[in-house]
Symmetry: C2
């Protein structure tokens, strides 16, 4: 191990190999503080060639490799295990915007760019990079790629996978694969980039990418719509899509319980319309405001929407979005809860909420469900707690049983137990319950083929046989 340290210092320079506990500490725990690992060192290469050299050195020494971007994983995907043998490879210094091709609508970026830096570079060229997340100022595009990040604009623009045209990757053997192509069509064999997107760093280290850009929307119209039920929200979604197609750029569901927490805990939050069991926050881009008004009037007349308001100004629109975005914060103030990041087919959202709510109420009387999320993608954040603090402490100990009920319900409806956040360490065992043996075996076959030594981010995703 000392020989590997010496070797890495020679490759990168001594300043780029951190091995003292205090210097490494921020990189050895996740930002929620749920996982804590140990490492031989944290290295900070400055180029993809240096990443490749680091990987070759680790392979020669048999040391596990843990790639790390902004370290904002919600499932411990970037935290090493406690063997103390791992080399954490920080991508933070590999952070240049390599090119913006406005006519091709592409941007070429290194993995360590923050998501916000990518958004900014696109905007400076008069284009939109539509991926947007709460952690965008900190998370890095390499991590977004490795976790196939989602967010609020997936309805219109797709997940990170759909935004990616090309990748550059250091493979588990230390070879550099240059797939930095900016092509909309390329049918020349297996689409290798797909392997690395969402692979959580288990098949290689993404060092750069070519991403799609879009025209900047010129106008946005934001509405707050009262609906009686989740079924009414799903029907309204399809009505809005039929009328506005791709101009419908967000469609978020919020329950009265979720709104209530925001109104209670967030200073300045105000109820935007009459109370209702459920709300939809819808955003239309480049649609004529009068067309949105007409559509809303039709929805009100037919009873599809019980009450609704269209933001009359940017500040009103921001206030509506602030209500949606403050839910997580309000929940945190209210107290801890058991959270889920699930998705089902959009048509089955009402059924999921009905079944899961009933099963949980039966098993845990008095349980409080805070449900909200990207209904246009079938993706719900489904968070559970007891209103009384003392009750809640006991309830949190029931996490395995609660997960079982929620995940079994999701699975019965052909859904997924991780829509956006990935598997990491958090759901590594849980996923074995829901994937078929054939699928797990196929994943293992791929991993074994690309990383026969098992050194790439071990302990994340289901492991080798």
């Amino acid at each position: 191990m000392q020989a590997l340290l010496d070797n890495l210092r020679e490759l990168l320079g001594p300043d780029r190999v951190l091995s003292e506990a205090a210097a490494m500490a921020p990189m050895l725990t996740d930002w929620r503080g749920r996982y804590r690992g140990r490492a031989l060192c944290v290295v900070q290469p400055g180029s993809s060639a240096e990443v490749a050299a680091v990987v070759r050195a680790c392979v020669a020494a048999g040391a596990p490799i843990v790639p790390q971007g902004g370290n904002t994983s919600l499932c411990g995907a970037a935290t090493p295990d406690d063997s103390g043998r791992a080399v954490v490879v920080s991508l933070s210094r590999i952070n240049r915007i390599l090119a913006v091709d406005a006519q091709n609508n592409t941007i070429t970026v290194e993995a360590g760019c923050t998501l916000a830096a990518v958004q900014d570079a696109a905007r400076a060229a008069g284009r939109l990079f539509p991926l947007a997340l709460a952690s965008e100022g900190t998370c890095q595009i390499g991590g977004n790629l490795s976790t196939n990040a989602g967010g609020v604009q997936v309805l219109r623009y797709g997940n990170t996978r759909e935004l990616t045209l090309g990748l550059q990757v250091v493979l588990p053997g230390g070879e550099l694969w240059d797939g930095l192509r900016g092509l909309r069509k390329d049918n020349t064999g297996y689409d290798l980039k797909q392997l690395f997107i969402g692979a959580e760093g288990t098949l290689g280290i993404i060092t750069a990418a070519v991403l799609k850009l879009f025209p900047l929307p010129k106008t946005q119209t934001t509405c707050w719509l009262n609906v009686a039920t989740p079924a009414a929200a799903v029907e309204l979604l399809n009505r809005a899509r039929s009328a506005f197609d791709a101009q419908l750029t967000a469609f978020e569901l919020v329950s009265e319980t979720a709104l209530g927490l925001v109104l209670r805990h967030i200073p300045g939050a105000r109820r935007p319309a009459a109370a209702s069991p459920w709300y939809v926050l819808a955003e239309f881009s480049d649609a004529h405001p009068a067309a949105v008004e007409r559509w809303l009037a039709d929805c009100l007349a037919s009873g599809a929407v019980a009450d609704g308001t269209v933001a009359a100004s940017d500040s009103q629109a921001r206030a509506l979005w602030a209500l949606r975005e403050a839910i997580s914060e309000a929940q945190k103030i209210e107290g801890v809860s058991i959270k889920h990041d699930v998705a089902v087919p959009v048509s089955r959202i009402p059924d999921f909420l009905c079944r899961a709510d009933a099963a949980l109420a039966a098993a845990f009387p008095g349980i409080r469900v805070v449900a909200f999320g990207h209904v246009g993608d079938g993706n719900l954040h489904y968070n559970l707690s007891k209103p009384d603090a003392a009750d809640n402490a006991a309830f949190l100990a029931c996490l395995p049983e609660v997960n079982r009920i929620v995940h079994d319900t999701v699975h019965a409806l052909d859904g997924t137990i991780s829509a956006e956040h990935g598997i990491g360490q958090l759901k590594r065992e849980e996923i074995l319950r829901y994937k078929s043996a054939v699928e797990i075996e196929l994943m293992r076959t791929i991993r074994q083929a690309l990383d026969p030594l098992g050194l790439m981010n071990p302990g994340k995703l289901p492991g080798p046989r």
Copy 2:
């Protein structure tokens, strides 16, 4: 081999195992008649379970397996080699529409459905399945998936890959992988379906899929626009995208040479506007016709468009599209030519045409270039001939040199030698010249890992070491 035949007859019934030369003949040649193979038999399983049983029988006997859909490949991807040992697996009988979920905007189909049948089933549910190809009445969705088919609406809706949410696949060992999920977000490990899309049947046999649906456009506005140069066409593309975003659903480039062939050979074809070196056929969906008219007026005023016409009726729009769609037919009547299916970054289309035209004119004086295609995707059909029939016969013998010039030019501009059609047998050797050793090795590693016996569609795509 006789034992395998007996075994297959027992599994499927004797009528579903064709082994007589006359019965097999249509399935042993490609539709252009360029490839001719031999086979032990052609089998017609009726379910995915039967496909799995066939694969297991072939594996036990060591017989190569060639999946075949509508047999419309342009690169020999569905034609067996001449060993006579292959079992051709026709998917034609596995052709049910399994489900349409209008609220989830998905359709679940078996692999043997024709593309037209999928489009029709979607339309019957008030939805659009946007994949559209010349061969849509014959080609099958399993083949579209296996070749990641493109077409004219990729600009708005993406390739087949982007239209796919889930797959069911019989793996090379005969296991059935059921990945028929209809989820917009699912981050639970490697996205295995991506492996099989565009793999040309070398990693398994796709037996069913869940595909995305979209709202049916309510209106379409079609324009024919004169532009002086390909560079002007690319600038116009971005101007149209900025103004209309996703409402711009097609943007096709046509050269005067291509139009001239149509006017000469296709009865009823009429010049839609003044002559120009280049034309753009643009289609806007759900945009207000007045907005398109205003945009065109601005383009004319600024000189971005030299002349232009907006179709005033559906029949005028169809006539404009007929000009574009008749190019292939007109070329066939004119005589044989050397065709290319290439793509470059959209921004480099002008450079590609300039460089390739010049290099070819220098090497082959008097050469005629017929260029047209999906400029919005960077994808050009670039077809070459000599105007004089006798000259052309000699020219056709120069195919390797012509390909070398075109493909080297494409490669120098970071493009691809196969944008839409795939590799198959046609470009299996050629692609080795342009892919890096690392990339070829990665493709071989995947193929070896999933199909260690090398029985899945051998001879297509670069083979094992």
